[in-house]
């Protein structure tokens, strides 16, 4: 006796059907729709242009140059047309003194502790960190400010070369991935604090930072030089090229740019932020990744959205609901019975039932 055969046959009524014919027609139909939509609507490639922002070419990426030339918009919607440069300068100081988002991120970028998301005592970031270590080490002071100045400006500007040298020899680790509190020595912290206070009384306009005299050490020279290379575009070129190879990994640029406030302001202006359902939005009115709706919804549940571990909560929910429940649905009592409670299939098969099942 042979084993039960894996193939089962339908013995009820049949109809003519050809898969290859249907498939070919389907491909033609889809190709026609996709080409027609492309001719009529194109696709989103809006660049950075946003309400109140300076225009940018289609397909542009965010750059320090755009940042420094952008206005800023405060919480009340008030526009400061020259806000970009002060925002850039404040961010540069934050990268140096370790108070920026990047410096405080923790693994996999640096050893800053206490920043990783956890539910109770469970931190997947912590577990991954103990296995892999810092896989993308960043030293915000060196990678974003000191190293670019050393490479781009110092060879041609002895004053900046001396300033960088003086800053580096005042302590503060240049090692990749050190914790935020290792980035500055006491001396550097004092200079940066004095400089930050002075910025509040001074001005940043047309590429020139003006502050009252004070004890800033080399900081004023360094920050001014960084603003200069941002405005010239040299800083962006530094980030998008590599010292040894062609660079296809511009993640440090992304980290630096996003530490400023113009970054999220552009996103908000284009409707891309999380509270604007940006997870599934595309620029303007284009459909985006609408299939991420399951992933977007949990962020809008107040208890989750406002949690410090929001991403971890959402990720966990998505794994459970979006993956496991979906995969195992045929074996989950209750869920698998929904179609019997809402018998939509009776509508779908009404013709078949009417013709073949006189009893129903």
């Amino acid at each position: 006796m042979s084993k039960k055969h894996p193939i089962r046959e339908w013995t009820g009524p049949q109809r003519k059907y050809d898969l290859l014919f249907e498939g070919t027609v389907a491909v033609v139909i889809i190709a026609v729709i996709a080409v027609a939509a492309s001719i009529l609507f194109g696709s989103a490639n809006g660049g950075l242009t946003y309400p109140d922002g300076p225009p940018s070419k289609a397909g542009s990426a965010f750059t320090a140059k755009y940042w420094a030339n952008s206005p800023t918009i405060d919480d009340q919607g008030k526009v400061d047309p020259k806000g970009g440069q002060p925002d850039f300068v404040a961010t540069v100081v934050a990268e140096l003194d370790g108070s920026s988002g990047t410096a405080g991120y923790g693994p996999p970028f640096n050893k800053t502790s206490g920043a990783s998301q956890s539910i109770g005592k469970v931190s997947l970031t912590g577990i991954a960190n103990s296995i892999f270590g810092l896989t993308q080490p960043v030293n915000s002071a060196n990678d974003f400010v000191l190293a670019p100045l050393s490479q781009i400006v110092a060879p041609y500007d002895p004053k900046v070369a001396a300033a960088v040298q003086q800053y580096e020899s005042a302590g503060g680790s240049l090692q990749p991935g050190v914790a935020a509190d290792q980035l500055v020595s006491d001396q550097q912290a004092t200079w940066l604090k004095n400089y930050t206070d002075a910025l509040a009384k001074g001005s940043v306009e047309n590429g020139v930072i003006t502050v009252p005299d004070g004890d800033y050490g080399p900081v004023a020279t360094i920050v001014q030089a960084e603003l200069n290379i941002a405005l010239s575009g040299a800083l962006d070129n530094y980030f998008t090229s590599g010292p040894n190879q062609l660079n296809t990994n511009p993640f440090k640029a992304t980290m630096f740019y996003s530490d400023g406030s113009v970054w999220s302001q552009v996103a908000a202006g284009q409707g891309l932020t999380g509270d604007q359902w940006g997870v599934m939005n595309e620029l303007w009115n284009y459909p985006g990744q609408f299939w991420l709706i399951l992933y977007a919804i949990p962020y809008h549940i107040p208890a989750i959205g406002s949690s410090a571990a929001a991403d971890l909560w959402v990720g966990t929910l998505v794994v459970i609901i979006g993956m496991l429940v979906q995969l195992l649905l045929p074996w989950i009592p209750g869920l698998r019975d929904i179609p019997r409670v809402i018998p939509f299939y009776r509508v779908i098969f009404r013709k078949y039932y009417a013709e073949n099942r006189k009893s129903t």
Binding site: A37, L124, N249, Y352
Partner: protein, 238 residues
């Protein structure tokens, strides 16, 4: 015709009971393929009469959209990694690729809902459902890497936002969504490749098991051996 007579097929050189062997696995694999995926099932002439709703076309339309996406993707790959930013032809192919993906997910969503409401997992079709969901999840990952490699502001912002989710789940230590080069290689080789494989397995399962009968009509699906023994080789007219 008895089942014993089918134990050796002179054309395929396979039969019912081929034992697995580590040193000679080919006969076992061959017999599994021939038993599970007969050509008359892969390319049928007929389908059950209830397969007559437009909703049954959603799966084929999803597949058709995938084919359009792959073809436009191949053209984009030939153009290079910034072609769509530097030429109008590249931009147009980018649009075709984009709209193909939108159609793909749209039809897939309807296809999934339809199969949920007809409980398409009945009659031993659970694995078909599982491979379908896997294809959906992999399609999400593939589309995601596509959005991350556009080399414009949009992809920069998506990457910067998504990194938090990836890192919070521990995945971000290996998969750095801000690394554009990694997204290129993942998108065109790894995720697309695995997706293609899963879709093939899904299609194979759909053809092998056949279209699920309407609820209440399950008894009309019969073990093929029974048909053989009754002299009715499978796939005959009702």
């Amino acid at each position: 015709m008895s089942s014993h007579a089918r134990a050796h097929d002179p054309v395929t050189d396979t039969g019912d009971e081929v034992a697995f062997s580590w040193t000679e696995p080919s006969p076992w694999v061959r017999s599994r393929l021939v038993r599970n995926f007969p050509l008359r099932r892969l390319l049928p002439d007929e389908e059950p009469s209830y397969v007559s709703s437009l909703l049954y076309v959603m799966g084929v339309l999803t597949l058709a959209a995938l084919i359009v996406v792959i073809l436009s993707g191949v053209v984009l790959a030939l153009g290079g990694v910034q072609w769509w930013q530097t030429s109008s032809v590249g931009g147009f192919m980018n649009s075709v690729h984009f709209w193909g993906v939108q159609l793909f997910f749209l039809f897939m969503a309807v296809h999934a809902l339809f199969n949920f409401f007809i409980m398409a997992w009945r009659g031993g079709r659970g694995f078909t459902w599982v491979t379908g969901v896997l294809a959906f999840l992999l399609a999400i990952v593939t589309a995601f890497t596509g959005f991350l490699m556009m080399t414009n502001w949009d992809s920069q912002y998506i990457a910067q936002q998504a990194k938090d989710a990836m890192i919070s789940m521990g995945i971000g230590f290996i998969w750095n969504v801000m690394d554009v080069g990694q997204q290129f290689t993942l998108h065109v080789v790894v995720t697309a490749g695995i997706l293609g494989f899963i879709v093939l397995v899904h299609l194979g399962q759909v053809r092998r098991r056949g279209v699920v009968p309407p609820p209440g009509e399950e008894h009309l699906e019969v073990d093929v051996t029974t048909l053989h023994e009754a002299g009715q080789v499978g796939g005959t007219h009702a």
